[in-house]
Symmetry: C2
Subunit: 216 residues, 2 copies
């Protein structure tokens, strides 16, 4: 019974995700679903991206959080439309909640809509929100074994941001192990080595995401 | 319907958790449910604890992992009984899976059974496994906003291990913000500031957990 219910939930999520995807495609809005563990750097990446590309593209953000609007507060200074979805304990966003908040954006004017999912390396990777693609963020301080131990997200994602590379000298993070595990799961996935604090490696990311926004 | 099913799942989990708790209480085994984000340092804490208290107490470990037995491999050198539960995508352990593996331990001889839950700051906090108490592990590199943004675990836990304090100088982690948020959620909870890599602050933890094992 539980399995059947889970299937129903996933089916209903998928139908709504397809609907969201079709609306966004019609309106030429690129939606990116950003997923990571708590504190890996999703908001910091958004801060950097708004700063760099905010004048070139019209951006919007959906902030998924258990409770509080703290991440949204951090992005307020960029003067872009932000909608907070508080899941009240829920461990992931789903396509129904995305569908409900789309009306809050002027989709005719938007180029890109970033969704910052709830901080969780597991559950969000199983739910299609209607995004163009999923973006995995993982930080060096979590250890080099994350792709091996939590393969689902790395299988689903279209790119991996390896954040906090500035902290590698103070940890036992081994890049070769990380890369080798990732290759076994998704060998062709683009990998960006970045530090959102220092700004390292972000040029390549800006170029990559700008190309995708342009081609939407 | 989904809510009813969720209630059934939680009820069934609770019944089995009560059963596990009663078995462990009869056998005088202290079970500790360790919960954190991926890579916060649960396994490192277990390594340190086995090293320090492994001769004083008889220990066992249940390793909850999506896939792989890597954490168990890290603990093999301590020559203690370890059982791996692979959740195959599941985001938390439940009391039924704990109940099923208890037979693998000689409960008459065991003093303490550590459960390393799946790396997830959200879902595991909602499932009682039949443990004596939950232990929250959080690392400074995840940021000082974790208790505020993910309050459930910090409400449920009986102690908080703040790991990776050796990395504070290289981050913008603000201890006062962390402590103030934690106070709002659970003002009397013991907080241990530790570095499992360097060994800082672990003496207090060893003393605290040893007292609890002795008093079981």
């Amino acid at each position: 019974m539980e399995i059947k219910v889970m299937k129903n939930i996933l089916d209903r999520n998928q139908n709504k995700a397809d609907e969201v995807r079709s609306v966004l495609s019609m309106k030429k809005v690129l939606m990116v679903n950003i997923i990571s563990s708590p504190g890996a750097g999703k908001t910091s990446l958004l801060e950097r991206t708004c700063e760099e590309l905010g004048t070139k593209f019209t951006m919007g953000v959906i902030e998924g959080d258990i409770t509080t609007d703290r991440d949204a507060q951090r992005l307020k200074k960029y003067n872009i439309p932000i909608v907070v979805i508080n899941t009240e304990g829920g461990c992931h966003l789903d396509s129904h909640s995305i569908s409900k908040v789309l009306d809050n954006f002027d989709l005719d004017k938007l180029d890109v809509l970033f969704v910052e999912n709830v901080g969780n390396l597991i559950c969000p990777s199983q739910f299609d929100l209607g995004e163009a693609f999923k973006l995995a963020v993982v930080s060096t301080t979590e250890g080099d074994d994350k792709p091996g131990k939590y393969p689902m997200l790395f299988r689903e994602a279209s790119a991996v941001m390896l954040n906090k590379i500035d902290l590698i000298p103070y940890t036992n993070f081994n890049f070769d192990i990380f890369r080798s595990d990732l290759n076994k799961i998704n060998s062709k996935i683009p990998l960006f080595k970045i530090s959102c604090t220092r700004g390292d490696g972000l040029g390549e990311w800006y170029k990559w995401i700008a190309e995708r926004i342009d081609a939407r």
